[in-house]
């Protein structure tokens, strides 16, 4: 279980970082989405992994429980990253339509030869 979760977080993060370092908007957005998935799983695991446990203390007996706080944190993080991804897509689209180029690096002095956008 630990191995699966750790591998998932690791692979998602590695993929996210790789895509984040691309120069075009779409891979970067995908990379950030992957990173946010990775961090959600990571946050979920930060309360220690417990299987088949309820997230509340039991009055009866010594039943263990799974930590409910990370679940609340993950919920907040999911909502925020969802909203942020939407904003990023809109701004990325806006930048693409304005500049006619989806490169994320700014090189106003020496425009890329491959760039089909107008030269500044």
């Amino acid at each position: 279980m630990e191995l699966i979760v750790a591998t998932t977080v690791g692979v998602l993060t590695a993929g996210g970082v790789y895509l984040l370092l691309r120069l075009r908007t779409f891979p970067v957005i995908l990379g950030l989405a992957l990173l946010s998935y990775a961090v959600n799983v990571f946050l979920f695991a930060s309360g220690r992994l417990a299987i088949d446990q309820s997230p509340i203390l039991s009055k009866y007996g010594e039943a263990t429980y799974t930590d409910p706080l990370p679940q609340a944190l993950v919920l907040t993080a999911i909502v925020i990253s969802f909203g942020m991804t939407a904003v990023l897509v809109m701004i990325g689209l806006g930048a693409y339509l304005e500049a006619e180029s989806d490169r994320v690096d700014i090189e106003p002095e020496t425009p890329d030869a491959n760039d089909q956008g107008e030269r500044t």
């Binding site: 908007t25 961090v39 946050l43 944190l73 701004i91």
Partner: protein
Amino acid sequence: MHWIILPVVLPALLAPLIGFVMRHDIVLARTASVAGTVTFLAIAVGLTSMAADGTTHVYRLGDWPAPFGIVLVLDRLSALMLLLTATLAVIVLIHAIATGWDARGRHFHALFQFQLMGICGAFLTGDIFNLFVFFEVLLIASYGLMIHSGGKERMRAGLQYVIMNLAGSTLFLFALGTLYASTGTLNIADLAARMPEIPVEEAALVSVASILLMIVFAVKAALFPVQFWLPATYSNAPAPVAALFAIMTKVGAYAILRVHTTVFGPGAPGTESLAGTWLFPAAIVTIAVGAFGVLGARRLMPLIAFSVVGSMGTMLVAVAAFSTTATTAALYYMIHSTLAAACLFLIADLVVTRRSADTLEAEPATVQNGLFAALFFAAAIAMAGMPPLSGFLGKLLVLDALQEPGFMVWAWSAILVGSFLTIVGFARAGSILFWKSTALAVPEEQTDVDVTAEAPPPATTAQVAPVVLTLAALAVLAIFAGPVSAYLDNASAQLFDREGYVEAVLGPVEED
């Protein structure tokens, strides 16, 4: 005692109202926005006088006891930050309205209020996860403000800014997860209380969280090596927004001060000297980056943006010492550099909009060349740190606080050489913009019609007023340096009083 939450609630209520109800009526939106911001300034003054007596005021949301519910904490430092934010907000708002920037796109005032909400929340909160949430609030508002009124370069710079900060937010969450996994709490006071009891095998994990948080705050504070987003962002943002962003870098610096003294401060095994060790060299390089940037900039807005980078370096050098005297110096310099940077951006806006392009090339003198030259000269003196304005006192305090042998050589040489390069850079820019231009005659071959058609309107009193107000504030800061630094002395003493903070938030400590 609900005053503490008002700086968050007031803009939070006002912003949707402006955004939804007043969006078609710019006059109504302006009135509401100004009224809200002035009210916020009044509240900030009230809160500062409330905090000045030295008690740490705690506001428990929903009256849940501290480690379980979210708390807002008002002490001298956070009150000071609120007051600075409010002052800056009023000045920037006057400029935005007087120059008509707010009408060049939609929802300026709504976003402005959301931005204030996020900044105030970040300064007040006593819970690290809540700090993350307020960071996101202020960031999402700043994304909107950054690309306000659009344009090719602005959209691209805005996209970079958003990507940079989203990556930063992800890192913030990783840091919080690590911290929660090793301590089981995210309340700042509770973390501070538990930190000395961290078992040795968990100490490494806590160090990782500490450095991750440092990187996240460094992104906000534009510290080397994650400062590269700042010049592109600030120089392409609308000028009033760039002036407001002067406080955003300070949110990062404030977070470093708060978290790395209270939580990872003295007594925390493994992390107590970690922050200073990494922060100090990074801040030294930041000063160098800022100074060379000022020297090499080819446009006015990037030049000012690089001077902001340099000033953040100077401030964080003092923060890195993590002592009360150095923190006092850092706070004094912070107030100064926020106002000075905002002032420069506002002047640059007045100048650049009257020129054909934002390039440092001689052009025939525009209207009111003398007035703009005088204002720019005063603001550049302030930013570079020459007498008589508060920049000189701020740098003097920083130098005076860093007299330990380990710090002195690097800090003094970096700050002094950096200041010199900044002076040269500003002098070069100023003389090209205002002095050489007077030597150029208006080309004769142009027809009179063209000249009159293209002649920019002179700046109105309302447009110059915010700049003069900021310069006046800097002068006041220099004249009342004694009382101000006495207050800051108390603020930094309170900041380093971990036990007092923990006791105020969690209640009296039970000995066990």
